[in-house]
């Protein structure tokens, strides 16, 4: 019965979903959680750009969830032509299964990362707990919301930022960095699964004193008209890259390779860089960056490569099962008891 049922159903759905059969090409961008607003604006601008360039019609669809979850979904069959993630590790996962070219990182400029950001701190208006830098997050009585480092790149950057701050302030003493990381992790009240969920927990449910997330998110919330929040830009932070890649395996099948490539190239144009900067990400284009310099405070941004020996090593040292984060959380749990 199934043999007739499935094609029959597909035919029925084909009739019922006219949007899919419109003339022109369609691509899907699978992205991380908090880039919803950014890519809604980018896509709006890309459609006329593409029309002018090739006189072709294009629809760009969006899908958003935690970056690692999206990587899994692509492996399971989400037909994304391009991925725009927030950590290299998630693209690496796709490269390992040959969904993405092995040399993806060199296919576009700047490590295939058209913009970057840093991790920063959002506190409630008036900064009642007097937070000025990462070390203040370790004080007793401060409670923190951040993304779970196991499910989202956002959370991994937060952990690395704490550790890097410990290294900076102690002149590279690993034991002191470990101690700072441990006392900050002990203050985390909620590990959320995705970036936007963490923000909602902080803003809508009013849980905890501090939200640690990308600066693009903290600035957007602090500057929104009814936002009762302040951004604390720490003295040093970790530089977050937002790697992009064409999902060759899907694009080849859908015959959208040229379009998918052009879409990612477009992210580097001054026009798109301007949109990116307006969403509080830090653009690669220097002219655009200069225009927005007043909104994006200069900050010492450390890179994962030189400080932690690259993502693979950082993942092994910090995030794998049984690595440092697990060990510290276990210590914290046993001390509470």
């Amino acid at each position: 019965m199934k043999r007739f049922f499935v094609p029959g159903l597909l035919a029925l759905l084909g009739l019922a979903a006219p949007a899919a059969s419109q003339a022109g090409q369609e691509i899907l961008n699978a992205s991380y959680d908090i880039s919803r607003e950014l890519f809604a604006d980018v896509n709006k601008a890309f459609v006329p750009y593409w029309k002018q360039k090739t006189s072709g019609d294009v629809t760009v669809k969006q899908s958003h969830a935690g970056s690692s979850k999206q990587a899994r979904a692509v492996l399971e069959g989400l037909r994304a032509d391009v991925v725009t993630f927030n950590t290299a590790g998630d693209v690496q996962l796709l490269a390992a299964s040959r969904f993405v070219a092995r040399d993806w990182a060199t296919r576009f400029p700047f490590n295939s990362s058209p913009y970057y950001s840093v991790h920063s701190i959002l506190v409630r208006k008036g900064n009642p707990k007097g937070i000025k830098d990462w070390s203040d997050l370790a004080k007793p009585g401060v409670s923190i919301v951040q993304v779970n480092p196991k499910t989202g790149g956002n959370g991994r950057y937060a952990v690395l930022a704490y550790y890097a701050a410990g290294l900076e302030s102690s002149g590279g003493d690993a034991a002191k960095a470990r101690a700072l990381l441990k006392s900050i992790l002990a203050n985390v009240a909620v590990f959320e699964s995705g970036g936007r969920a963490a923000t909602s927990t902080f803003t809508e449910r009013e849980i905890s004193d501090v939200l640690v997330t990308f600066e693009a998110e903290t600035l957007a919330y602090a500057t929104s008209p009814n936002g009762n929040y302040e951004v604390i830009t720490p003295s040093v932070s970790i530089l977050s890259e937002f790697p992009v890649a064409v999902v060759d395996k899907v694009a080849r099948k859908k015959e959208t390779e040229t379009l998918a490539r052009a879409y990612l190239d477009y992210l580097y144009t001054p026009e798109a860089q301007e949109i990116i900067a307006r969403h509080y990400y830090r653009p690669r284009n220097e002219e655009v960056a200069a225009r927005h310099a007043s909104r994006l405070a200069s900050i010492k941004a450390l890179e994962v490569g030189p400080v932690f020996g690259g993502w693979e090593k950082a993942t092994r040292d910090f995030f794998d099962n049984g690595a440092l984060v697990d060990a510290l959380l276990k210590e914290i749990a046993s001390e509470v008891r």
């Binding site: 499935v6 029925l12 899919a20 899907l28 969006q62 958003h64 399971e76 069959g77 936007r196 969920a197």
Partner: protein
């Protein structure tokens, strides 16, 4: 649920403090737990005025979500009605080994969490799953697509018609059908004239439950949707997404539509029931013309 309930004489509560307390308790808790949240959905949806409300609903992604949800319901309801009645008929009128097992299997979606159904579906039909290679070769997209939403919704709502119809068919037994057949009626005629009128109420109830549940399904579709905006977002997913997108008013606007559809379904069901009850009572002479 049927005519017999409204015929029983009811006891008055006047002068019985304990009965009054019970009734007041019931009314208050119903107001707090059901009416108030229901009211708040419409309050928050309409708080910023009609034009804002209409604007939220005209959003193409929201319209698509409403369409997709209705499509899933419109497939799930007929499929599960036919399946439920057929299965209940087979199980109640015939005896064969493994009857109990089949019953339990059909009712399984009721007792396991929808998210498990979603994940299991992914393991079977996902690219990394059992049939992954085969599905790629035949270019069938059964995950993160419209068909996956429709299929999963149908699976989750399988038990409702079946469960409502089965006990009734079991208690009635095959005697009336046997009588009809012995008097010369054919299979179709027996079904339409004897079986169907007997199970009418349970069937209507089961269908409306199936419809309501398929509109409201969240857990399983969340797993297989892939959250492609304007393509695989159902109404419940759209509400969740709008809420996370800092658009509370938008989320409540969609919620108000979902709630309205559910309310209308319930009203239609009640109206049909009342009409039928009235007709039955009139037939018995309890109510004057």
């Amino acid at each position: 649920m049927n005519a017999s309930a409204s015929q029983t004489a009811r006891a008055p509560i006047g002068g019985h403090p304990r009965r009054i307390v019970l009734v007041v308790f019931g009314v208050v808790s119903m107001t707090l737990l059901i009416l108030l949240p229901l009211f708040s959905v419409f309050y928050y949806a309409l708080r910023e005025g009609w034009s804002v409300y209409a604007g939220h609903l005209k959003d193409p992604e929201t319209l698509h979500a409403i369409g997709l949800t209705l499509l899933a319901a419109l497939v799930a309801v007929p499929v599960n009605t036919v399946f439920g009645v057929t299965a209940a008929w087979t199980l109640s009128k015939f005896d064969f080994p493994g009857r109990r097992l089949v019953t339990s299997l059909i009712e399984l979606p009721l007792s396991i969490s929808p998210i498990i159904i979603g994940v299991a579906y992914l393991f079977v039909f996902g690219l990394q799953g059992l049939f992954g290679e085969w599905l790629i070769d035949h270019d069938l997209r059964l995950v993160f697509s419209v068909p996956s939403i429709v299929i999963v919704t149908t699976i989750v709502t399988v038990p409702f018609v079946f469960r409502e119809v089965l006990p009734l068919m079991q208690s009635q037994g095959p005697n009336e059908e046997l009588a009809a057949i012995s008097l010369g009626a054919g299979g179709v005629k027996t079904f339409l004239k004897v079986t169907l009128p007997n199970i009418k109420w349970a069937l209507i109830y089961g269908v409306s439950l199936t419809f309501a549940r398929s509109l409201g399904e969240f857990g399983s579709v969340a797993v297989v949707s892939g959250a492609v905006r304007g393509e695989t977002n159902t109404m419940t997913l759209q509400i969740h997404m709008l809420f996370d997108d800092r658009s509370q008013a938008g989320a409540f606007a969609v919620a108000s539509i979902l709630t309205s559809i559910a309310l209308v379904t319930m009203l239609v069901k009640t109206w049909v029931e009342n009409r039928e009850t009235h007709r039955l009572l009139r037939g018995m002479g309890t109510v004057k013309e």
